[in-house]
């Protein structure tokens, strides 16, 4: 990404005056080098100092050293690390040389810990590791992450592997993980947090309230192209929706991009799909309608309802928690 793109984004954010979380994501964001990345992030320094933006980054940690830690600390980055567990669970995270990245990831994590920078982990669980929830939980408590999010592997974007579809194994995985967490709840668990809060509301007699607003989650590419709803759409072209690009920050104002977003077909399909979820699925009060990227990659349309993500990461998770609480 070029500096004039981040400068343009910052200028547009100034105009909107809304609080925004900027997530540096996609590939490995730190691979552009410290000098370039810090320049890009400093485009937003006025906004950050005024409390209008907060930086977040999702990194594989392999490049994190003392200098990066100092930068994250000084600019209040929320740091997320992508790590799938111990070496046996992390075999698919490799460097450009094709060698396992595990050792380098752990060096980066040690640097974060030395600098007292809290970090969250996103762990992708594949079919082979569904029987090892206890081992995974113990591993993540040992490395000292502040929070943990579990993504059951999805066929999405560049990943063409099939999502696990063994309901029994997936429920058993979530049950084992929930049990391990309840016995030693020292990590914030993203997935238990959100599903338990929804189950709690559902257990009350108050009728569920359907939100009237949703986050369109704009993703901005290196060249300023903007897609909505899912970052995977930046690399996607479909017969039905075309390129998914709703504007470019060098050409269009944010307000125009958002306004245009209201009328593009894939957003309208998303809203319609959510309405269908609400009408057809009893788990709607848990997830509020599923993910656009998963709907498209599995069904070829966003006007769809259930996906493997719904089943594996929402429905079976809720089932597992309820079974564990009996």
């Amino acid at each position: 990404m070029a500096l004039d793109t981040t400068n343009q984004v910052a200028e547009e954010l100034h105009k909107t005056g809304n609080y925004v979380e900027i997530i540096w994501h996609g590939g490995e964001p730190l691979s552009c080098g410290f000098n370039h990345f810090s320049q890009l992030a400093l485009s937003f320094e006025d906004l950050r100092e005024s409390g209008f933006i907060h930086h977040g980054i999702q990194s594989n940690a392999t490049l994190i050293d003392e200098r990066w830690c100092e930068f994250f600390h000084d600019h209040e980055f929320r740091v997320g690390i992508s790590l799938d567990g111990p070496p046996w669970a992390n075999t698919r995270r490799v460097g450009r040389d094709g060698k396992p990245a595990y050792r380098r990831i752990m060096v980066g994590i040690q640097e974060l810990k030395k600098a007292n920078i809290p970090f969250s982990i996103i762990c992708v669980v594949s079919h082979n590791d569904l029987g090892k929830a206890n081992d995974l939980y113990n591993f993540f408590t040992d490395i000292g992450c502040a929070s943990l999010g579990i993504n059951i592997e999805e066929r999405l974007g560049a990943n063409t592997n099939k999502s696990p579809d063994d309901n029994y194994k997936i429920v058993r995985f979530w049950r084992e993980l929930f049990s391990a967490w309840r016995a030693n709840p020292i990590i914030k668990m993203r997935d238990f947090d959100r599903v338990l809060s929804s189950l709690s509301l559902l257990s009350d007699d108050t009728p569920p309230v359907v939100p009237e607003l949703y986050d369109i989650f704009p993703s901005i590419a290196w060249n300023g192209d903007v897609v909505l709803l899912a970052p995977e759409f930046l690399n996607t072209v479909s017969n039905k929706y075309g390129s998914f690009i709703v504007g470019n920050v060098h050409r269009d104002s944010f307000i125009d991009i958002i306004r245009k977003g209201n009328s593009v077909q894939y957003i309208q399909d998303y809203v319609h799909g959510i309405e269908r979820c609400n009408n057809e699925c009893e788990y709607f009060p848990i997830c509020y309608g599923g993910q656009a990227g998963n709907k498209f990659s599995e069904h070829g349309t966003i006007d769809a309802t259930e996906t493997a993500f719904c089943r594996n990461s929402e429905m079976r998770l809720a089932d597992a928690i309820l079974e564990e609480l009996i």
């Binding site: 668990m189 947090d193 559902l202 569920p208 009996i326």
Partner: protein, 57 residues
């Protein structure tokens, strides 16, 4: 066959207890309660909740 709603009603007390476990300050476990953990959204009206899979906090 119980509906999801019926199951949650039946387990209401245990669900609320588990929610308290989520909310319990880490300091109660001897950890530093002042650690600035990435905030976890617990508001059920938050449409962003699924974006966590992309790293959104």
């Amino acid at each position: 066959m119980q509906t999801l709603k019926e199951k949650t009603r039946k387990l209401k007390t245990r669900i609320k207890r588990a929610v308290r476990l989520v909310e319990k300050p880490m300091s109660e476990d001897g950890k530093d309660g002042t650690v600035d953990c990435p905030p976890q959204k617990t508001n059920s009206l938050n449409w962003n909740k699924g974006w966590g899979k992309y790293g959104k906090t």
